[in-house]
Every structure is written in C-alpha cells, then in structure tokens.
C-alpha cells in the first residue's frame, strides 16, 4: 500500500502570551497508507488535535511538510489550497457545535458542493439526498429542519454526511464518538466503518478511548506531550506495548469486567507536565518507571523495532 498522507517533521507551536509557547506538536513524522484506518491515541495535551488541524492547514504548522497524494500542502496557498481541501475532510468531537444552528440540514450538507462549484441545483439535490440516505438519515424528514431539532447522534450523522458529500480521499475523525452517549457510540462507529468500505476512504481516527481505537484501526500511533511514542499495527501494539507510556495507558483503562484485575500502571506519582514547558529528552521520563539519566539528556528517536512497528524509547519493553 502506498502512503496517501505523509507528515514529515511537523511542528506546531502557538503563543499563549508572556512570550511563552505551547509546544503542541514537536517533530512528528507519520504516514497514513491509502485505504487504512490509522488510530491516533493520546491524553489531553498530547497534541493529537493540534496535529489534525495542522495537517489540514487550519492553521498551517510552524514547520514540517504535509504531503498529501504527492503534493505538499504546506507549500500551497490561497486558491490552490482551497481547491485541494475537498479531498481532506474532518469530523469533529462536538457534533452540535460543528453545525451552524441557523442553517437547515439540507443547506449544511449542500454547502461543500456550492463552495466547490457544483452549480446545478438538481445535481446538488440528488447528491445531498444520496449521501443522507447513505448515513441513515431520511431526506424527506430532515431536509428542512435545523440542527437543534436533532440529538447528538443524529447531528454526528449530518456532520458525516457533510464530510462525505464531496467524496474525499481522507477523513480526519477528531474524537467522533466521545461526546455521544454510550448507547449511541456503537452506531456511529459502525457507520464510520460502513462509510469507509463504501466510499473507499482512508481514516485518521483520533480518540482517547483505546477500546474504540482498537476496534476501528489497522495501525495505531500513540502520542504523549506533542511527540510520538509508538506506531504499530493494532494487534501487536495492544498485545505487547513497546513504549512504557503505551503500557501504562493500557493498564489504566478501566475494563468493563469485574473479573479482570486492575492492572498496575507503575507510573510515578504526579500529574502530566505542561506542554508549555515540556521535560528535556524523553517527555515521558518524569512519570516513567524505567527512566534512566540518558532519558533526560537525549531525545529518543522513533526507530523501527519490528516489521510494522516503531518506538521512541531508549529502553523499549519489546524488541
């Protein structure tokens, strides 16, 4: 499989006043293969959402390249970039905030078509109806209604329809189910899986819920404080985590089974450091049970330790 998207040495920083910067994403290199789902996991402050926005050039990153289908988006400007945008779409965490409350559902889904120059009204109507049906909305019922008349799950369907109507190659899903009720999440996860198969999509699936990520992802990347810790195929990552952070994360997940004993995270006590002032060397070292002096002085590079896995740790648990 070839790479549809290649993120190279991406850096995202933004000022917070007082001359200080949030180091949201630091030197991240990551590729998404055509047709796969890449899960991106991390806690708050890990930079996963900043990464998503930067690769869509909203706003463009401070440094690095984002090569999509052979073209570097960071080098594109104005009209050229706008012409590229329909091929990369995004689905947001809060489905209600992602829909304009003053517009009708049909207008919201038709907007991408208008912007990309589909001027034939009949053609637009046909495509909007088709995509509504695809995501499980009844066009006749929802056409003239406004977002506030729908539940969170329905709003997320509308948002998915809007993302699909331009038939993009890649969809970035930024925590698409975490704002939804537990009993609704599975519906939306299944819908995304169906749409992926039907439209031949490539997905970048960002979430903090490991079980959801495992369920949809072919490969998984783990981020901590703006850096990648580990990238591996889903099964081996969850079977044998190589990075101590991945291991801690997995041990910390509450498993919905009273017979599974609580794992030991082995984390040093204390809270995650601030991305305003990340630790030197390996950013996880302040909480890592295996930290050595070398971890403070030397940033561990992301290196290959298996056929399909890479880890950024001086003392990986595997390999």
């Amino acid at each position: 499989m070839s790479d549809l998207l290649a993120i190279q040495n991406l850096v995202v920083e933004y000022p917070v006043g007082g001359g200080r910067h949030v180091h949201a994403v630091s030197d991240v290199t990551l590729a998404v293969k055509r047709g796969e789902t890449l899960g991106l996991v991390g806690e708050s402050g890990s930079g996963k959402s900043s990464l998503a926005r930067a690769l869509l050039q909203l706003p463009p990153p401070k440094a690095g390249a984002v090569v999509f289908d052979g073209q570097d988006l960071t080098q594109m400007r104005g009209q050229a970039l706008r012409a590229m945008r329909p091929r990369l779409q995004m689905i947001f965490q809060d489905p209600i905030a992602s829909l304009n409350p003053r517009r009708k559902v049909a207008e919201i889904i038709a907007e991408p078509l208008i912007v990309s120059g589909v001027s034939d009204t009949a053609e637009r109507t046909r495509r909007v109806r088709a995509v509504m049906e695809a995501v499980g909305l009844d066009p006749d019922l929802v056409w003239n209604r406004r977002p506030h008349e729908f539940s969170g799950g329905q709003c997320q369907r509308i948002a998915i329809a809007r993302a699909l109507v331009l038939e993009p190659a890649l969809i970035v899903c930024d925590e698409p189910v975490s704002a939804l009720d537990v009993s609704i999440r599975a519906q939306i996860v299944n819908l995304l899986e169906d749409m992926k198969a039907r439209f031949g999509l490539t997905l970048l699936f960002i979430a903090h819920d490991l079980a959801v990520v495992k369920s949809v992802s072919d490969r998984v990347a783990v981020m901590y404080l703006g850096r990648l810790c580990e990238v591996a195929d889903s099964d081996s990552l969850f079977a044998t985590p190589a990075h101590p952070y991945t291991a801690a994360l997995m041990a910390a997940i509450p498993v919905p089974d009273p017979d599974v004993p609580l794992g030991d995270t082995k984390l040093k006590p204390g809270d995650p450091p601030s991305p305003l002032d990340p630790p030197s060397g390996c950013r996880f070292r302040t909480r890592c049970p295996h930290a050595q002096p070398r971890c403070a002085s030397e940033v561990p590079p992301l290196r290959r330790i298996g056929p399909a896995r890479e880890v950024a740790c001086h003392f990986p648990l595997v390999g």
Binding site: E43, S44, S151, G153, Q154, D181, V182, S183, I184, R185, A186, Q187, V189, N190, E193, H208, L210, A211, V212, K214, S215, V216, S217, D218, S234, D235, F238, A248, L249, M250, A251, A252, I253, P254, V255, P256, D257, P258, D259, V260, L262, T265, L267, P269, G270, D271, P272, S274, R287
Partner: protein, 334 residues
Amino acid sequence: MSGQPNTPLLSVRNAEVSFSTARGPLRAVDGVSFDLQEGRTLGIVGESGSGKSVLVRSLIGLVGAGSGAGVAGQVLFEGRDLRSLSPREFRQVLGTEIGIVFQDPMTSLNPVMKIGRQIGEGLRLHRGLDSKAAARRAVELLNEVGIPEPERRAGQYPHEMSGGMRQRVAIAIAIACAPKLLIADEPTTALDVTVQRQILDLLQGEQRQRGMAMILITHDLGVAAGRSDDIMVMYAGRAVETAATRDIFRSPRMPYTEALLRSLPRLTDPTHTRLSAIPGRPPDLARRSGGCAFGPRCLYRTERCDAEQPRLTRGGGRGYACFHPRGVAPGGVA
C-alpha cells in the same frame, strides 16, 4: 458480606424529581428505591439524562429550592428521615456525615478562595475548630490525599493546580469532616485515563481506610466494574436493574444492560469487529409513553411492554424492571 439484616446507612424509597419545562412536566427521577450498607460501594450507572446525578443530588437537598423542581420520596440516613429535619439540622448532617466530589474540578472549587480555607471551612463550622487549627488540619488532609508540599499548596488558588491535583483537593474537602458516606458524581470523567486511575485508587483507598460507604455515579461501565460492590443501572429516570457487580456483568437480566455491555468495544476483540449497536436513542423524558422506556429499542419487546410499565421486581438479591428478563426461564423468579 455479613448477611445479617442491619439498618442500612442510607435507605431511599420512591425518590422522585420532576422539573417543569416549557414543554410540560419532566420527570427526571421516577420512583427509585435503594439501600446502601455501611462501608459498601454502590455504583450508579447510566447515560446522560438517565437521572443518576439528579437522583443523588436530590437526596442531599442540592436539587430543589429555587429551581422549581418537585422532590418527593423518603430518605433515611442512619434511620433518620432527612426530609423531616429542620434546615439547620439537615445542614449539620450534610456537612458532617456526607461528603461529595463532583465531576469537574475546574468548576467545583471556588476560584477566588485559597484551597486551605476551602478545606477548613467545614471543620470550622461543624467541628468548632479555630482558623489556625482548621488550617493545620487542611494541610494534613492535603498530605493525606497525596499532594506534595501541602503547606505551600494550601495557600494557593485552584487555578494554580492541574486537574488531577484539583480533584485531590476536592476529595480532601469531601473527607474533611470524616463523613460516613462519600458521594462521587462522575469523579473522573473530566480527567485523563492515567490520572483517572490515580484518583479512583485514592477514592477507594480513603473509603477502605475510613470505612465510608460510597455512591459512585458513572457512565463508564469499566469504572463501575472495578470499583463497586453493587450496581444500580438507571435508564430514563428509573432504576432498571440492581445487582451485585459480578452478576450485572456476568448475567444481566435487563435487556438494556445486556445490550449496553454488548455494544462496548473490547480490547480482546480483533480489529474491525462489528459492534452490536443499540438502535434508536434514549427517550424524551417530557414525552413518556405508558410502557417500558427501553421498549422501542429492545429486541425482546412485546405488546405488553408498550402497554404496561414494568416495575422493579426484586428477588434473589437482585432486581430488574422487565417482563422478559434474560437468563431466567419464562415464569421464573417468583
């Protein structure tokens, strides 16, 4: 479990909470009853809108007064009827016997009051400590909940601390007057997984050490599984199933519980396993039908489910509100 029938620490009978809304009355909690024994943990599980938070807040008088909510039912705490106490007596019980931790430590601490004072406040009011003694006790409590440099931290404001630290402070406030009951209302929902784990460990540690009973409200079945002795599942304002934690997860009776457990993605399943989703969505509480609230989404629904509202049937140490319980032979459980 000792098994001997002793007076429960908390006994709730037919709790009801209703709000009047523009679209008519909304029954957020509808006839919920449960008992909680000393030292035990009851997990209350439900989705948003299931009424789990409103139920517990109404028990301790935090719903009502001014919000136009109607609260009914009986609440016995150590055999005393809380609803019949005078406001002053009630505040005394609330302040000394019951501690509460809220979901979001960003909003549950007063942003313009030093945390030492926030911890010591209850001690000064209910335990008669002078401000110096209260301040000293606050530092001890901060130390107990695992906050480094407690003396310095006591003089800080909440915004100077991280989310996890703030939740520790909130726990220190809750346990300051040595309550017999600790209510944790989604205590880790706003926190990251690794921090969540530490906070849950702290809560459980304090509970065991002090012999407190705990009500743990959560939407996360994983959290409830690992931390509670018994579980009450709520749906659309009603208790639909109560049982020991293991029974809930091993052999759910209520189709809702079963469907919810099945819909969860598991780390043990291979990638791209299709999830068994529950169709439809939770009902609009302002438009209740006469039948089972879960009926429209239920696989086992019959005409009776639409016509009649199932009551919570108890037996064999558990209860469920369903005409077609799972794992029970038809006509079983008399």
